[in-house]
């Protein structure tokens, strides 16, 4: 029969000769292989200390963005919640008071914004739906918690640090200051 590939290998079924039946050469060969492996480069990455670089389009945990003046961008329009196929996002809107103009960019803001990370499938549709560039998927991932409740992320967990009061944490959250690609994609990168 015509072989389908060139990889076919004829199996040698001849009885072993004296040299082979001693097994010692075969054992020595096997031992040299295992010994050689001791000096090979290991593909393992020491995970919590070192991580593999992600591509900038990686979809990890969400971040609620702020604008340059540190105001929250989200206006609680609910488009992300509508877009979400897993129905992981809930929010409550509230009207901005005259004294809060430094806190929220628009007249309406999200008083409560929750994402259930156990429901979320990290598709990134909320990111696409957002008209205000308020929600982004970062490169952080693998959250862990002892309870299911802990996986419902509120505004404390989601909001990016204020660039005015805490510029370093803000830069870290965006992945500047460092080797890795930005954790949060900025407007200029998106456009």
């Amino acid at each position: 029969m015509q072989p389908l590939t060139s990889k076919a290998k004829v199996v040698d079924r001849r009885p072993m000769n004296m040299w082979e039946r001693m097994y010692l050469p075969a054992i020595a060969k096997g031992m040299s292989i295992t010994f050689g492996h001791m000096f090979k480069k290991r593909p393992t990455v020491n995970y919590p200390e070192k991580t593999r670089p992600f591509s900038p389009v990686f979809r990890g945990l969400h971040v609620l963005n702020r604008d340059e003046e540190g105001r929250e961008r989200c206006t609680a329009c609910g488009l992300c919640a509508v877009a979400c196929p897993a129905e992981a996002i809930t929010m409550e809107g509230a009207e901005r008071l005259p004294s809060e103009e430094g806190l929220y960019r628009e007249e309406k803001y999200a008083a409560k914004y929750e994402i259930n990370m156990l429901r979320c499938i990290f598709c990134g549709l909320c990111e696409e739906a957002c008209p205000k560039d308020a929600i982004y998927l970062s490169e952080t991932f693998a959250p862990s918690n002892y309870t299911r409740k802990g996986f419902i992320y509120g505004k404390e967990e989601l909001l990016i640090p204020d660039p005015k009061t805490d510029p370093e944490a803000f830069a870290r959250a965006r992945g500047e200051h460092g080797q890795e690609a930005p954790a949060v994609k900025t407007n200029s990168q998106m456009r």
């Binding site: 054992i27 096997g30 292989i33 295992t34 492996h37 001791m38 290991r42 593909p43 393992t44």
Partner: protein, 353 residues
């Protein structure tokens, strides 16, 4: 009369007690770090990293493992024979530790004009003692398997016991040809005859090979670990064991590896002889004590090499099937050992005439 009978040589007594404590402690520590080395070497050979969380390079891992074993619940099966169930691991550990008594760790230390042999007991039937104690190790396996009152434990124990007994034969026969050359059963005499790198491996390569294979079988190490077969059959004879009783079984295996490495180094690789150096001349030059310490270091280096070899083989060669095991033991090693014996005897006779 009474006084002379009871008179003890207290220096000798204290010297031996200190030596015993050191050696027992050392063999336990080495056994502990064998478990670490086993995991580390296995990892390296499989392109992994191995234990690296507990301490630098995972060096505290054996302590963590030991702590875990102590903390675990101790289960004695209701239908088992309680006394024998506890006796089994104890016996395994005891026999593993007892063998170290006749191994000469170094030549001797000179303190205050007295010679302190670095050997617990220079018995003139040293090798016979080793064989006697090692064959008692079967009881640890057998009693443990029997007392568990579990069919699988018993089967594994019988499997292990028959393996150990079969390989003891070939081991004894391979030693006979060595003894024909040495003319002595004392391990110290055997080492002294091998000074200046006249190692018996050069005279008895086949005998060494047989001894090596048999000591793998005696230690229940991987090509012959049928009594345990940790990964597929079941846990073997210690299936019903938990907590530190299980720890004792596993630990005694590692102590056995250490001791059989020591015995192999003693019999075939010159024991505490410093390779390629005239020890006696060096002792004249440097004094006895530093040379004795250097000899002990050399001996331990040889032992560590053997331990590495044990681990290396474990992570290379797959387990034998039971019929292959028996075929290798009875149909290959024993005839080979007898042949080796005959050839050695013939050559010795030839040299005499």
């Amino acid at each position: 009369m009474h006084i002379t009978l009871l008179a003890l040589d207290w220096t000798l007594f204290i010297d031996k007690v200190i030596l015993i404590v050191i050696i027992l402690g050392l063999s336990l520590v080495i056994a502990m770090y064998e478990t670490w080395a086993e995991r580390k070497v296995a990892a390296l050979m499989q392109d992994r990293r191995g234990p690296n969380r507990a301490g630098p390079g995972g060096l505290l891992q054996p302590l963590a493992d030991g702590l875990k074993l102590f903390m675990k619940e101790e289960i004695v099966p209701g239908s088992s024979n309680r006394l024998l169930f506890i006796l089994g691991p104890g016996l395994a550990m005891l026999t593993a530790m007892m063998t170290s008594a006749v191994v000469p760790w170094s030549s001797y230390l000179e303190v205050g004009g007295r010679h302190f042999d670095l050997q617990v007991a220079d018995v003139n039937i040293g090798i016979l003692y080793v064989f006697g104690v090692v064959s008692m190790g079967v009881y640890g396996v057998m009693i443990g398997g029997w007392a568990s009152n579990n069919k699988f434990s018993l089967l594994a124990a019988v499997r292990g016991a028959s393996q150990i007994i079969s390989y003891e034969l070939a081991m004894g026969l391979s030693i006979i040809s060595l003894l024909m050359i040495t003319g002595s059963l004392s391990l110290r005499t055997i080492v002294q005859e091998q000074q200046n790198t006249h190692y018996y491996i050069l005279y008895q390569p086949v005998g060494f090979l047989i001894f090596l294979v048999c000591s793998f079988a005696e230690c229940n190490r991987t090509p012959f670990d049928l009594s345990e077969a940790d990964n597929e059959l079941n846990m073997g004879f210690h299936l019903e064991y938990s907590s530190m009783k299980l720890g004792f079984y596993l630990f005694s295996e590692y102590v056995n590896v250490f001791i059989s490495s020591a015995v192999m180094a003693t019999l075939y690789f010159g024991g505490y002889d410093i390779p390629f150096v005239d020890d006696a001349a060096l002792a004249q030059h440097w004094g006895q004590n530093p040379v004795a310490i250097l000899q002990a270091v050399c001996f331990f280096a040889k032992i560590v090499c053997f331990i590495f070899f044990f681990i290396w083989v474990r992570w290379t060669i797959p387990r034998f099937r039971y019929d292959q095991l028996m075929k290798l033991g009875w149909k290959m090693l024993i005839p080979l050992a007898i042949l080796n014996m005959l050839v050695t005897g013939f050559l010795i006779l030839l040299r005499h005439h």
